[in-house]
């Protein structure tokens, strides 16, 4: 039996992770701590579990925690969990600064607890299939990749730079960068980015465009914009066009869906029937603890993805490409 708790429910992915925990045998969802008592109590009720007013009380009763706090608080919660000898699944991005990310990795190493970063798209079935195709060399050697991770404007703390560490570029660069690092086993070496606030009345970047280079001269572009309007029928997309010496693979990770038009709510929505990637992520995390193996997505993976996003902000500021190492 693996006993699991949540530290903060600020990030809405917590509910999907909670749903996944309930579907797994040998897992007990012990409870929720949230510094925002109202959110914590409501969320605990929604997940049919207990609210803990003190984090330390929860941490003495669990083997692992899932941290779904605001990005800039990942470090304090990680260090707290590590000091209680509790394993950690931390929502992406790992942190908002290189210093924080490194401190988190160190704290977990010293406490001998496992730190996994939540990049659930690695567990999307079409994505896993593309990885396998690339490993088989179906399109030869990869030359270039065009990516998008569009989204709707999330609002809330996501548009508060103090808490999120950045807007669209921070939110939607790390998924695609992580997938590509995982696909190719290569690092990003430079990034050029345009980023601005042009779509919404918020004080943070809500659109942008990245052009990056990887080891071996592979170039990658990525559009992280919150460019899907509120009336868009789904949250956004993850697409990759992978250009190789012997072919091209077009991936639209969430294409498995149908449309529902509803007049009562004046709403059009796209309903997904893709297999649940969050369940895949959570199952992998639990199995890692049970089998006492290394995390499939490490703190270093989280650091490398975040470093590209931070480099993009630097590039947008100085209007020049930035070297990443």
């Amino acid at each position: 039996m693996v006993r699991v708790g949540f530290l903060s429910l600020a990030h809405m992915h917590a509910y999907s992770y909670g749903h996944a925990l309930k579907q797994l045998p040998n897992v007990e969802l012990v409870g929720v701590f949230d510094p925002d008592q109202e959110r914590g109590q409501e969320g605990a009720e929604r997940m049919n579990t207990k609210y803990f007013p003190e984090a330390s009380r929860l941490l003495t009763q669990v083997d692992a925690v899932i941290i779904c706090s605001e990005n800039s608080r990942h470090r304090e919660f990680t260090e707290l969990a590590a000091s209680h000898g509790v394993h950690i699944l931390c929502e992406k991005p790992i942190a908002t600064t290189i210093e924080d990310a490194k401190a988190m990795i160190d704290a977990c190493e010293k406490a001998n607890v496992k730190l996994q970063i939540a990049f659930p798209v690695r567990f999307n079935t079409p994505v896993m299939r593309v990885k396998e195709m690339l490993e088989r060399g179906v399109i030869g050697e990869v030359l270039a990749i065009r990516g998008t991770n569009h989204g709707q404007m999330p609002g809330g703390w996501f548009v508060d730079p103090e808490l999120s560490g950045g807007g669209a570029v921070m939110d939607h660069t790390v998924h695609v960068v992580d997938l590509i690092r995982w696909f190719l086993g290569k690092e990003f070496v430079s990034v050029y980015a345009e980023a601005d606030n042009m779509l919404y009345d918020v004080s943070i970047d809500d659109c942008g465009m990245l052009s990056m280079e990887m080891e071996g001269g592979i170039f990658v572009t990525q559009d992280p914009s919150w460019s899907r309007p509120a009336t868009y029928p789904t949250w956004g997309n993850v697409t990759l066009e992978i250009i190789g010496t012997e072919g091209v693979i077009d991936l639209d990770a969430f294409a498995q869906n149908f449309m529902v038009y509803n007049d009562q709510q004046r709403k059009i929505s796209q309903k997904s029937f893709t297999e649940d990637m969050d369940l895949g992520l959570i199952k992998d995390f639990i199995e890692m603890i049970e089998e006492d193996r290394e995390p499939s997505i490490t703190g270093f993976d989280g650091l490398q993805a975040m470093a590209v996003a931070l480099g993009a902000y630097e590039s947008a500021r100085i209007k020049k490409p930035v070297q990443l190492r």
Binding site: G247, D252, V260, Y261, N262
Partner: protein, 330 residues
């Protein structure tokens, strides 16, 4: 451990055999097929025992479940033998080629103390189960008009070209779009009347296009369309359901997450662009998992002989309607 024997190692027999490999505490132990090449293939594929028919299978192996994947016109005979052997049975759709066979199967199934499940796999296909959930949750209000399409691909290849013999296969209505008839019955219940058209008899045997109008007892009006073609088109399916408050639309051609275009395909002279719609757990795996669950938990499988006979009656009514040019009331 549930031990399985597959009868008939054609397309479906092969797909099912693969799915059994992925189920826990389930072992495919024997495959029966009259064709020596296919027997050799089954041996190569899964290292299982092979025999030439159901009698030999029952004599030589102790299995708990017999999975019947033989051509439709052989269903009743093989199923009757499996019942004599007192085995749990999974049988491919359609249940039978005609009503008499279907009714005799129902008689055999009555009071049988083992489980019988039927392979209406669309009920395990994620897009279709998702759409059904949306309808049942009232997302389009009271349903009124439904449309489905299934087909576009090349005429199926079968043992001795049995699909091309209408008397044996029942053509595109009985073999292919019976899937959608079953799905719509699962959603809307019993059918009141049927009016159908098919190109059968007007062109070569390797092209058939059928269009069926259904009126359900609950009032829903449906159009069910399907085709086998003599050109090598791409298989696709669509669903559209309009209700008092909204509309659901699905087109499998718009839901392929992966499209690859490769030099290797170009060199091979085939279609250069290849779409893919991967799932870690195929609908065939899910339907067989339900069958295994039915055995273990001593419950009915999702698709019973009664359900399948109800669906078969509608498909046969459509065939009759097309033949006579008349409306058939059920």
């Amino acid at each position: 451990m549930i031990r399985v024997g597959v009868v008939g190692y054609g397309t479906m027999g092969q797909v099912h055999s693969q799915a059994f490999q992925e189920l826990n505490d389930v072992e495919l132990v024997v495959v029966a097929d009259p064709d020596p090449d296919r027997r050799a293939q089954a041996q190569r594929d899964f290292g299982v025992d092979v025999v030439s028919n159901i009698e030999e299978l029952l004599r030589s192996s102790s299995v708990d479940l017999v999975d019947i994947c033989v051509p439709t016109y052989l269903h009743e005979t093989v199923l009757a033998q499996a019942i004599v052997g007192n085995k749990h049975i999974f049988i491919e759709k359609p249940l039978a080629r005609n009503l008499e066979e279907g009714q005799r199967i129902l008689e055999l199934a009555k009071d049988y103390d083992k489980k019988i499940g039927v392979g209406h796999v669309v009920r395990f296909t994620p897009a279709y189960t998702g759409i059904r959930e949306s309808v049942l949750q009232g997302e389009i209000g009271q349903a009124a008009v439904a449309r489905t399409f299934r087909g576009g691909s090349q005429f199926p290849q079968g043992w001795h070209d049995w699909y091309a013999d209408f008397d044996l296969s029942g053509g595109v209505i009985l073999d292919l779009i019976i899937h959608d008839i079953d799905y719509l019955r699962w959603l809307f219940g019993d059918v009141e009347r049927v009016y159908a058209k098919t190109t059968h008899g007007r062109t070569t045997a390797h092209l058939e296009w059928a269009m069926i109008v259904l009126r359900f007892k609950n009032g829903v009006i449906a159009h069910v369309e399907g085709s086998w073609t003599n050109f090598a088109g791409d298989f696709y399916t669509t669903v559209e359901i309009a209700g008092k408050d909204g509309l659901i639309k699905y087109d499998s051609r718009e839901t392929d997450p992966i499209v690859k275009t490769t030099l290797a395909e170009a060199r091979a002279g085939g279609g250069v662009t290849v779409p893919e719609n991967p799932a870690a757990r195929s609908p065939y795996l899910l339907e067989l998992e339900d069958m295994i669950g039915a055995i273990r938990e001593d419950r009915a499988p999702l698709v019973t002989v009664e359900d399948a006979l109800g669906t078969l009656k509608v498909a046969l009514a459509a065939e009759k309607s097309a033949r006579l040019g008349q409306v058939i009331t059920l």
